[in-house]
C-alpha cells in the first residue's frame, strides 16, 4: 500500500537530484569563472551576490569616500570568518579619516585604487586579485575583498579571524610527562606549533589544496636536507592524485594514500601532539598537517611505532616498552589461547588451575568458543557505546556493563568466571597500546583467532600467526617494510623497539627512512662522573667541590 506511491516519489527525488547536479555544473570553482571582473561596481557586486545566492553570512558594505564622496567602494567578507575588529580598525577607519581630512581635493577614479592599496589600508597583509575565482577563494577563506568602482582590480585584505579553539591539552593521547599543547583546527596555529619546536629555515611547509568543495589546505611538512626527497615527492604525488569533493579529516586522506588498502592495520601514524610531529620530522619522516582537524599524519609508519608513546622518550628509564609487547600479545591471543587450551590442550593447564576452571564451567550452557565470542562481542558493544555516548550516559553504560556482563552473567551461570577474567584482561591489555587506531586492528583480529582456536586449537592459532605475519611482512608504508626493524632485521635499531635505550645511545636515525644525515648527535655522550676525580675516593669534600665546579 505504501510502497507504490513511494516509488515515483523516490524517482522524483532522483530526478530532482539530477537537476541539482546540473545546476551545480557551472559551479563557482569551475574554470568558467576564471575571468576578470568588470569595471562597474554594481555589476560586480550583483554577480558576487548572485554566486552566493544571497547567503546570509555574506556581508557587503557599500560606502563612498573622498572629500565629496566621489569614490564608491564595497567591502565584501564572510561574517564569522573575518576579524571584525581588524576590518573596522584597518579598513573602515582610514576611509572615514580620509573623508574627514582637511584635504578637500577630489580623488581621481584612476588614482583611487593605488591610493587605497598603497597607503590607505593600514593592515599588514594585502593582496590583489582580478579574477572572479581568485576573489572567491580569498573571500571563502576569510579575507575581506574591497571592490572599487571603476577598476576591475579587487583588493584583498587578509583579515582572517574566526572563532577557534585555543591550544589545549591533547584529548586523545593521555600522558603524564611532556608538553601539554596540542593541535587545534587551524592550520596556521598547527604549523606555528611545529615551527616553535624546530627553529630552522629548512623546516618546509609545502601546501596543497584538496577537495573540490572543501578546498582544504594540506601542509606537507618536512625538513629540507634531512628528509629523503624521494619520500617527500612520493607523499606529494600521492596527495595530488586525490580528486574528491571534500577532505574533512585526516582519515579521508589516509584511505587515499595508504600503500595497501586491504588491511586492518594502519599504515600511517596520526597524532594531535606537536612534539610527536617534531620528533618524527627529526627522524626524517614527513608530516601531513590538515586544516580543520587537529590530527596530523606521519609517514612512513612501521608496526613497532604503534607501541611507542612520546612519553617513552621523556622518561629516562623505561621497561614499559617490553610490557607493551607483552600487552599486545595478551590482547591479541589470550582469549583464543584460552579457548584452545580449554577445548583441546587441557594437559597444558596446571592441574590445580584446570580443576578450578572445570568447576567454574560446570553448568555453563555454551561451548568455550561461543562463550568467548559472545563475551568479546559484548565487550566491543560496551566499548563502542561508552565512546559514543555523552559522558554522563557513558558512565551509566560502564556500570551496566560491569554489572550485567560481569557479575550477573556469572551469577546466572551463563558465563564462567574465568572467562570474564580472560576477556577483561585482554581488553585492558588492548588499552595499553598507545595508538588508538592500531588497537582497533588488534581487537579486530581477535575474532578470526578465536574461530581458529575453536576449530584447530593451538595449531590453528599458530596457523593464524603465520598468515598474519605473512600479511604484515607483505605490507609497506611508503616503501618501508611494515615490520622493519624486526624484519628485515636491523638488530642495531632494536634499541628503540623492544626497549628504549637512553638518549645518548641513539646516535643514528632509523636507516630505512634514508635520511640524508644518518647521524643525529655527536657520539660518546654517555654521562660519567665529573672528569678526572674518580681516583679521589669518597671524601665528601672532594665530591662537593667537584659539583661546585660543574655548576
Amino acid at each position: 500500500m505504501f510502497r507504490k506511491p513511494r516509488r515515483p516519489k523516490t524517482m522524483e527525488e532522483r530526478k530532482q537530484r539530477q537537476i541539482d547536479a546540473k545546476l551545480e555544473a557551472p559551479h563557482p570553482d569551475s574554470q568558467e569563472l576564471n575571468i576578470p571582473f568588470g569595471l562597474s561596481l554594481d555589476d560586480n557586486l550583483a554577480l558576487f551576490k548572485n554566486l552566493f545566492g544571497n547567503a546570509s553570512d555574506l556581508l557587503v558594505r557599500e560606502f563612498s569616500f573622498g572629500a565629496r564622496q566621489e569614490i564608491r567602494v564595497a567591502l565584501v567578507y564572510i561574517d564569522g570568518l573575518s576579524d571584525t575588529n581588524s576590518i573596522s580598525e584597518a579598513i573602515l577607519k582610514p576611509f572615514v579619516y580620509r573623508s574627514l581630512s582637511d584635504d578637500k581635493s577630489p580623488i581621481l577614479p584612476e588614482s583611487a585604487y593605488p591610493m587605497i592599496r598603497d597607503w590607505l589600508i593600514t593592515f599588514g597583509s594585502v593582496k590583489e586579485a582580478a579574477r572572479i575565482n581568485e576573489v572567491l577563494d580569498y573571500v571563502l577563506t576569510g579575507c575581506a575583498a574591497l571592490f572599487i568602482d571603476g577598476t576591475s582590480q579587487v583588493l584583498i585584505v587578509v583579515v582572517k579571524g574566526w572563532k577557534a579553539r585555543d591550544v589545549e591539552e591533547p584529548k586523545a593521547e593521555a600522558f603524564v610527562r611532556g608538553p601539554r599543547d596540542s593541535f587545534n583546527e587551524t592550520l596556521r596555529t598547527n604549523t606555528a606549533l611545529i615551527r616553535r619546536r624546530i627553529k630552522t629555515p629548512r623546516l618546509r611547509f609545502d601546501t596543497l589544496k584538496i577537495g573540490r568543495m572543501t578546498k582544504t589546505d594540506i601542509c606537507v611538512v618536512y625538513i629540507h636536507g634531512l628528509t629523503d626527497p624521494a619520500l617527500k615527492d612520493e607523499v606529494i604525488s600521492r596527495l595530488k592524485r586525490i580528486d574528491t569533493d571534500g577532505i574533512l579529516e585526516s582519515g579521508y586522506l589516509e584511505d587515499f594514500i595508504k600503500d595497501n588498502p586491504w588491511t586492518p592495520f594502519s599504515l600511517l601514524d596520526r597524532t594531535e601532539r606537536p612534539d610527536k610531529v617534531a620528533g618524527a620530522l627529526l627522524e626524517g619522516r614527513v608530516a601531513i598537517v590538515i586544516d580543520t582537524t587537529p590530527f596530523a599524519l606521519l609517514v612512513p609508519a612501521v608496526f613497532s611505532e604503534f607501541l611507542q608513546a612520546p612519553e617513552d622518550y621523556y622518561e629516562s628509564f623505561d621497561y614499559i616498552r617490553a610490557f607493551r609487547w607483552l600487552g599486545l600479545i595478551i590482547a591479541t591471543f589470550l582469549p583464543s589461547v584460552y579457548v584452545a587450551l580449554s577445548t583441546y590442550h587441557q594437559e597444558m593447564i596446571p592441574t590445580g588451575l584446570v580443576l578450578s576452571m572445570a568447576a567454574g564451567r560446570e553448568g555453563v550452557p555454551f561451548p568455550a568458543l561461543v562463550e568467548a565470542l559472545s563475551m568479546e562481542i559484548s565487550f566491543d558493544f560496551l566499548r563502542e557505546a561508552g565512546a559514543r555516548m555523552p559522558r554522563s550516559v557513558g558512565q551509566a553504560v560502564g556500570i551496566i556493563g560491569a554489572l550485567v556482563l560481569g557479575q550477573a552473567s556469572v551469577a546466572a551461570g551463563i558465563v564462567s568466571p574465568i572467562m570474564v577474567v580472560i576477556v577483561s584482561l585482554a581488553a585492558v591489555a588492548s588499552f595499553m597500546i598507545p595508538n588508538y587506531s592500531s588497537s582497533h586492528a588488534i581487537r579486530f583480529i581477535r575474532f578470526p583467532f578465536l574461530l581458529l582456536a575453536g576449530a584447530f586449537g593451538l595449531p590453528g592459532i599458530f596457523w593464524g600467526i603465520l598468515v598474519l605475519l605473512l600479511h604484515l611482512a607483505s605490507l609497506r608504508s611508503f616503501g618501508v617494510p611494515y615490520l622493519y626493524p624486526v624484519a628485515p632485521g636491523v638488530p642495531g635499531e632494536w634499541k628503540d623497539v623492544f626497549f628504549k635505550a637512553p638518549r645518548w645511545m641513539m646516535d643514528f636515525r632509523p636507516s630505512l627512512l634514508r635520511a640524508r644525515k644518518i647521524r643525529r648527535q655527536a657520539p660518546g655522550q654517555m654521562p660519567g662522573p665529573p672528569g678526572g676525580s674518580s681516583g679521589e675516593g669518597d671524601d665528601p669534600q672532594i665530591v662537593s667541590t667537584g659539583r661546585e665546579k660543574q655548576g
Partner: protein, 421 residues
C-alpha cells in the same frame, strides 16, 4: 577497470580465507574438541592383575564441582563431600580398560592430572612392560608421572587409602611421600626413568613401594573431644587406612622379584648418589643415640676386572650435620666426639649398603647398577658376559665399600644442654 579487477580479487581472497576459517567450524566441526566439563580428571591409575590374562584398572578421578563446593562451603557443619570417585574396570589390557572407562562414565579421560601410576604386586611379578606400553604410546601421559608398586592390590590402595589431610587423593600420595622424605631418605621414580632403566644394559629398575598401614589411633590427634569424634568417624568408615611409602620393590628384567626392607632401601639410596637427605640414628655413647641428618654427596663405583671375577670399589662421601644428641656427655663441638659420631655414621651407612648388595646378589637383580659400570668401562667384555650377568656373575662379585662421612654443622646449638648441679 584494472583497479576494479584487482580489488575484486582481494575481496575474493578475503572470502576464501574466511571460508577456510569458518567452514570447519560450521560443517565438520572441531573433531578433537572437548570442553572442560566433559573431562574425567584421572589422578591415579592403579593396575592389577585380573585372572590369567586380564587386568583390573582402577581410575581415581577428581570431581571439580565437589572440589569447588568443598572450598567455598568451608568446614561448617555439613558432612564433608568426597571430591573424588574411583572406577574399577576389568579388561584385557590397559587400553581396553581406558575405553571401557570412558563408556562407563560419560567423560573423556584426561591423564594430564594423573601424578601416580600404581602397579599391583601380582601384575608386577608377572611383568610391568605389557601394561605400561599403552602409556608410552598415549600422547596424553607424561613421562614424569610417578610409578609405584603396591604391596597387595593397587585397587585396595585407592579404595581404602584415607585421603585426609589432602582433598585430592593423588596429592595425598605426594604428601605422604614428602613426609617420608623429611624423615629419611627416599626417591621417587618416574615413568621415564623406569623405561630408560629397563632398556639400559646392566641395570634393573626399582620402584617405591606403596602400602596401607593401620592408622595411628588417638595419640596423634589434637584435643580430647575432637579426637574422640575422629576416632568414631574412623570406626564408621571402617577400613580407611593411612598410605605409607617406605621401601622399594625391585625388578628383574621387567618383573618384580622382591621388596626391600628399610635397611636395604637405604643402602640402595646411598648408592644413587643424588643429594637425598635423611636422618640416620647412630649410637652416641653408652645406651644413648644421636641423630645425623646426612646426604650423600658423591658416589663412585669403579669395577676392577680380574681373572677371579669382579671387584667393585664403592666410594661414598656423605655430608651432614648433627640434628640431635641424647647424651650430655657427648659434645659435638669437640673434635674427638664429632669424629666418633662420624665413624658411627660411616658404620651405619656401610651396613646399609652391604645389606643392599647382599639383597641384590640374593634375588639376582642388579638394581644397584653394578653391571652398568662394567658396560660403561668395558663394553666389549659386557657383550660376552651381559647375558649371564645377573644369574652367574652378580652373585659372586666382591665389593669393597669405603664410606667417608663429614659432619659440618651442629645445628643451632654448639654443645649439649648441661644442667648445673
Amino acid at each position: 577497470m584494472k583497479r576494479a579487477l584487482k580489488s575484486m580479487s582481494v575481496v575474493k581472497r578475503l572470502c576464501l580465507v574466511l571460508a577456510i576459517i569458518l567452514l570447519p567450524n560450521i560443517c565438520a566441526g572441531c573433531w578433537d574438541r572437548v570442553e572442560l566439563e566433559q573431562l574425567a580428571y584421572v589422578t591415579v591409575v592403579g593396575i592389577d592383575r585380573d585372572g590369567p590374562d586380564g587386568v583390573l584398572v582402577t581410575f581415581q578421578c577428581v570431581i571439580p564441582r565437589m572440589l569447588a563446593r568443598g572450598q567455598s562451603g568451608g568446614g561448617g557443619g555439613a558432612a564433608p563431600v568426597k571430591p573424588y570417585t574411583n572406577y574399577s574396570v576389568k579388561a584385557r589390557n590397559v587400553s581396553d580398560a581406558v575405553r571401557l572407562f570412558e563408556i562407563k562414565q560419560p567423560h573423556k579421560a584426561l591423564f594430564k592430572t594423573s601424578t601416580v601410576i600404581i602397579i599391583g604386586e601380582d601384575l608386577a611379578r608377572k611383568g610391568v612392560i605389557p601394561s605400561l606400553d599403552f602409556f608410552t604410546r598415549k600422547p596424553a601421559l607424561r613421562r614424569s608421572v610417578w610409578v609405584m608398586v603396591a604391596e597387595g592390590k593397587a585397587a585396595d590402595i585407592l579404595l581404602k587409602g584415607d585421603p585426609s589431610p589432602e582433598i585430592i587423593p593423588a596429592n595425598n600420595i605426594r604428601t605422604a611421600f614428602q613426609r617420608r622424605q623429611d624423615v629419611t631418605l627416599t626417591s621417587s621414580v618416574d615413568f621415564g626413568q623406569l623405561l630408560s632403566k629397563l632398556e639400559r644394559p646392566g641395570v634393573d629398575p626399582f620402584m617405591p613401594e606403596i602400602k596401607l598401614a593401620p592408622k595411628l589411633s588417638g595419640g596423634t590427634a589434637g584435643q580430647g573431644e575432637t579426637s574422640t569424634q575422629d576416632q568414631q568417624k574412623d570406626v564408621k568408615e571402617g577400613e580407611k587406612q593411612v598410605l605409607e611409602i617406605v621401601d622399594f620393590g625391585v625388578l628383574k628384567l621387567g618383573k618384580l622379584v622382591s621388596f626391600l626392607d628399610i635397611t636395604e632401601s637405604r643402602g640402595l639410596l646411598w648408592l644413587q648418589g643424588k643429594t637425598n637427605s635423611g636422618t640416620i640414628t647412630v649410637p652416641a655413647r653408652g645406651a644413648s643415640w644421636a641423630s645425623l641428618l646426612v646426604s650423600s654427596k658423591r658416589v663412585k663405583i669403579t669395577p676392577v676386572i680380574s681373572q677371579d671375577g669382579f671387584l667393585f670399589n664403592i666410594d661414598i662421601r656423605i655430608e651432614g650435620y648433627v640434628s640431635s644428641v641424647q647424651n650430655e656427655a657427648v659434645d659435638p663441638t669437640k673434635p674427638e666426639d664429632l669424629g666418633r659420631l662420624e665413624e658411627e655414621g660411616e658404620k651405619a651407612i656401610l651396613q646399609d649398603v652391604m645389606a643392599a648388595v647382599k639383597k641384590s646378589q640374593e634375588v639376582r637383580s642388579d638394581f644397584l647398577g653394578l653391571g652398568e659400570k662394567i658396560y660403561e668401562t668395558d663394553p666389549d667384555l659386557w657383550k660376552e658376559i651381559g647375558e649371564a650377568w645377573r644369574d652367574e656373575w652378580l652373585p659372586n662379585v666382591q665389593v669393597d665399600i669405603s664410606v667417608n662421612c663429614k659432619l659440618k654443622r651442629t645445628g643451632l646449638a654448639a654443645g649439649p644442654v648441661q644442667p648445673i648441679p
